[in-house]
Structures are given as structure tokens and as C-alpha cells.
């Protein structure tokens, strides 16, 4: 593995998630962008026996890469040589039965209890801004055993309470809140990954557990409107490798729609990584 010389912040987040992918586990990826690319990256480079499921009920495909632009579900290249072709209801039911170990999703806004907003910024129905809605993320966040959330490290995205709960985290954070809302037992948020950091949960509250080498804990906290708990020892995240970036750029996100979409560019100056 070769240390990469230059990469975007979104690429960092996807590579960090790829390192979490484990053999023998199932991953339900929300939509077709960052979550799908992260799981594929992990599967292709580190965990060949990890399997993924998509919202249109495709079980364990061997996709023909690269995808056509936007065509990451239903399209023939995306669903190629799957073990099963299903439907949205079959995917939802398989998750409801407990077959999905991990859900991987991205979002607009997350709060201290891992609740996810992808519907509305501002007071609902007021003058705020509408976004796309939960899509498949609500079922993923409700029914997969563990949820990995990808988002950007921005102040307005890490808040005390999301403006609108589109997909459930630990709800009000009290023990049993999910079960009282009818959600399956022992499920819930597990990690949040941003281009700068990784978080886990302690007593159902968000906790900073790792950072990338080129930002400090203070810089991360400055980009959190609501301050998370901090682990006693904050780990350092491995930067992307050339192998990871090559796969991402040549086979997964060929047009750079996801990888170039936001954030700074990180470069190696001969001694350390610096943010442009």
C-alpha cells in the first residue's frame, strides 16, 4: 500500500468507511452514492467476503464497473450477477428479519443521539429548506443491527437536536426509546464518519473517537455546533492509499460526482499532510 499524495475530503470519508467493512457481514447501502462506493471499496480491497444489498433488493451483485453516471440501482451493470433480484419490499423485509448487519447511509444533519435529518432544515413547514426525504435510510437506520453514517464535518451538521428526524438514531437518548417507538431491539447508530473524524457512541451519545492526522481535536470541535463526548484517547485515522484512490477514481466515482462534490483538497508536502 502506497501513501497517497493528494485527495479530496470526500475521498477520505469513503476510505475510512471502507476500512470498517468486515468479511462475512451484510451491508445495506442507502441510495447509490457515497455509501455504495465505500462498501464496494472495502469489499474489493479488504473484505472480499463482505456482501451488500441495495434498495431495489439486489443481494450480493458483482457489478460491472464503472457504473453509468447515476445508474447505481436497477441498471443492469449495477445489479449484474447478483445472488437474488428482489424488490424494495424484499430488501426491507430482509432487514426487518435481521439479515442486515450494517446499514450505511449519508445525511445532511446528525444530532447528539445519532438522529438523522434529510428532510427539512429550519422549522418544518416554515420558511426553511426542503431536502429529498429519508429514501431508504429510515428503514436502514431502524432495522439494520448497526448503522454507519457518513456526513461532512460542518458546524451546522452536528447539532444538539436535528430539525426533523427523518431516520431514527437513539431518539431522545433514553434507554429503550427505540423499542418504545416500535423499532427492533438492540439496533441503532454505531459510527459516524466525516472527512475529518470518526465518532462512536457512549450511553447513546455521540463521542469523538478518531481524527485524521491533519486536523486537531479542537478544529473538529469548532465544526460541531453541539460538542460531542470525547474518547479518553482519540485515535488517528489512516490516510487513503493510492490503491484506494485508484479504484475510487477509475471504477467507482469516475466522473467525480461524489468525490469532488465538496470540501478541501489534502496534499502531502514531503513531511506532512496539509489542507489546501
Amino acid at each position: 500500500m502506497t501513501r497517497a499524495e493528494a485527495f479530496s475530503e470526500r475521498e477520505v470519508a469513503m476510505c475510512t468507511v471502507a476500512h470498517l467493512v468486515e468479511n462475512g457481514r451484510t451491508y445495506w447501502a442507502a441510495g447509490g452514492g457515497t455509501p455504495l462506493y465505500s462498501v464496494l471499496l472495502g469489499q474489493k480491497l479488504y473484505a472480499p467476503d463482505a456482501q451488500y444489498i441495495t434498495e431495489d433488493g439486489v443481494v450480493a451483485p458483482e457489478p460491472l464497473l464503472p457504473f453509468e453516471p447515476m445508474m447505481t440501482m436497477v441498471a443492469s451493470r449495477a445489479v449484474h450477477h447478483a445472488l437474488l433480484w428482489g424488490t424494495m419490499n424484499s430488501a426491507g423485509l430482509h432487514a426487518q428479519l435481521g439479515h442486515m448487519d450494517y446499514g450505511v447511509l449519508n445525511t445532511l444533519q446528525v444530532d447528539q443521539h445519532g438522529n438523522i435529518n434529510s428532510t427539512f432544515l429550519g422549522e418544518y413547514g416554515g420558511s426553511g429548506r426542503r431536502f429529498g426525504g429519508p429514501g431508504g435510510a429510515d428503514t436502514i437506520a431502524a432495522c439494520c443491527w448497526r448503522t454507519i453514517l457518513i456526513t461532512d464535518q460542518e458546524r451546522r451538521k452536528f447539532v444538539k437536536e436535528v430539525d426533523f428526524i427523518s431516520s431514527p438514531g437513539f431518539l431522545d437518548g433514553t434507554p429503550g426509546a427505540r423499542e418504545r417507538a416500535g423499532l427492533p431491539r438492540d439496533t441503532g447508530p454505531w459510527r459516524v464518519v466525516t472527512p475529518w473524524a470518526m465518532y462512536d457512541y457512549e450511553d447513546r451519545r455521540l463521542r469523538l473517537m478518531a481524527r485524521v492526522p491533519w486536523v486537531t481535536v479542537d478544529e473538529i470541535l469548532a465544526e460541531c455546533e453541539w460538542k460531542p463526548l470525547i474518547a479518553p484517547e482519540v485515535q488517528v485515522i489512516e490516510p487513503p492509499t493510492e490503491e484506494e484512490l485508484h479504484l475510487l477514481r477509475t471504477e467507482l466515482d469516475v466522473r467525480g460526482q461524489t468525490t469532488d462534490a465538496a470540501g478541501s483538497w489534502i496534499t502531502w508536502d514531503g513531511e506532512k499532510y496539509v489542507r489546501a
Binding site: V74, H80, M88, G92, G133, P168
Partner: protein, 332 residues
Amino acid sequence: MTAPAARRSLPILREGTSAYLKVDPDGFRAYVRDNKQRALTPRLMSAREAVERFVADGDYLAYECNYLMRGPNELVHEIIRQEKKQLWAAGKFTYVDVALLVDAGCVSRADCGFFLSSPPIDRALREGRLEVFEYSNVIMTTRLQAGAMGIPFLPVRSFGGTDGFDHSGAKLITDPYTGDPITIVPALNPDVAIIHVHQADVYGNARVFGTGISDVESALASRKVIISAEEIIETDDIRAKPGATSIPYYAVDAVVHSPHGSYPGTCPGYYGSDPEVVFEIFRAIMTDQVQAYLDKWVRPFATFAEMLNERVGAAKLEAMTAREVAKDGYSA
């Protein structure tokens, strides 16, 4: 002596407050009895006739897949061309369709699973031309599943605890079997479903190859069903491989022969997408230029075939077909 179980009241612990399409399983059965053609009579017709006859102003509309992926795009164009009004759309698993139909003046209400937030949607919300009700993709397909089963609701293990729940037709009750809280969501029986398939016969026996969202659920749950098909095949072919039939004829009211009917999207196994035009429609929506898109791709043409001939051309359609190299699984 305790009351019989059936007499005990089942308290509603929490419920959403939004409007939802009326739940009426017996009304649906009566509609089926009185309107569905259970005789094997041909129902092949043009898109214009199908939309004239089976899409009415004010209808609840379900479309399957979306404008980019095996969408019933010929029928969507025809709905826009005929200027249908006040439709209530099932906006699940959608990027551009809701924005297109809203800006075209056809849709004024939408149940949201997912659809692209965009300037046309924002403008319509601001101007009070659009109401949105909150669900998720899977909750929407679950509602269609309940509708397709002829029952009034289904319990689900998701959706509880969200703000979407509070802005929907869902309810949280105590499960009478386990005693645990459980969310129930109302059955959805759309007035009309439009579904693009790979093959159908003239009676509406239809085959979908590959994955989908809720083709079968929508077909069975909807009062009126228009199938558009890439290929019209012989009923003898259907009978030779009955296991390949996805949708039975008696659910279907109209069959439209619609080759390249998902353009500019893909019809998996048959042709790939037209990436330039896929980007064009994204750009049109994100820059609030839907009217220009419709004036270029929809309104000048009497039919979808005319648009394909004049605006796209046979050479490009052939190239899209040639680029679709993944063929395994896309036949009966």
C-alpha cells in the same frame, strides 16, 4: 368475567396527523368487481388513448421505478402533454419525476419517500401549489403491499420515532399479540398506476426482468393500471413460461407498446441510458429550467415515438442498445 378479546379496545399510542388517501378495502374490491376486465379481451392501445381513458384529474398516481431507470416515461410525457391536473403522486425512489410533474402543473400533492429537492419544488411549496406528506421509500412500498393484499394496513418495524411519522398517516399501537408497541401504516390503493415492463401480451400479462421497486404491488393495488411494454409478445409465449409472468392480465386496464419507452433512462438488459440527456434533465431541474426541458423534449411532439425519431434518432437508440452489454437474466 373479562370481555372477549375482540371487544377490548386497542389504544392508539401516537398517530400522524397528515392527510392520506382514504383506506377502503371493500370499496376497492367492489371497484375491481365492477371495472376490471376478467375476460381475456385485448387492451392494446396508444399512450394517448390510455392516458385519456385512465388518468383523470385529481387521481392518486403511482409510477414504478423512475425517470432514469425503467420509468414509464412515454406515459409521463403523455400525462404532461394532456395537462392532467391535481394529481397526488407517490414520490418514492425518485430523483426528477416529482419535480417534472409539479412544474408541468400536473401534481399538487406528493407522498414523499425520496425525491430531489430542487428549485421547482421549493417554488411550488412557497406558492402553495404543492403539499407534501412524509413517508420513506420502504414505507411507501409497504403501503402498496397492504393495498395489494386487500387489507387496510400493515405493521412495520421502522418509521416509529421519526418526525415523518408525525406528518403521515401512520399510527403506533400496542401489538395485541406481543404487547409491544408497533407502527401500522395505511394501505395505499392508487387510482392509477403506470408501469414500464420488458414484455407484455395484448391482454396485459406482463414480464419484468431484473430488479424493481414495487411493480407487482402497484399493479395489484391500483384501481386503473396502464402497462407500457418494450415488446408485445404472443400469449403462447406467456403460456410457455408462466413462471416468468410478473403481473396477471386481470389487474391491467391498458397495454401500450412503448419501445425505448424509458428514454432517456435505461431499460435494464435492453438499453442503457443516454448520459448527456440524463445530465440535461438534472441541470434543468436544479437550475429551474423545467419548462425549457418540456418545450424541447415533450410539448413539440404528438407522440413519444415522434420525439424519439426526430429528437434522438435511430443511430443513437441503436448505440444505447449496443452499449447494454449485461444480458444475463433479462429473458424468460
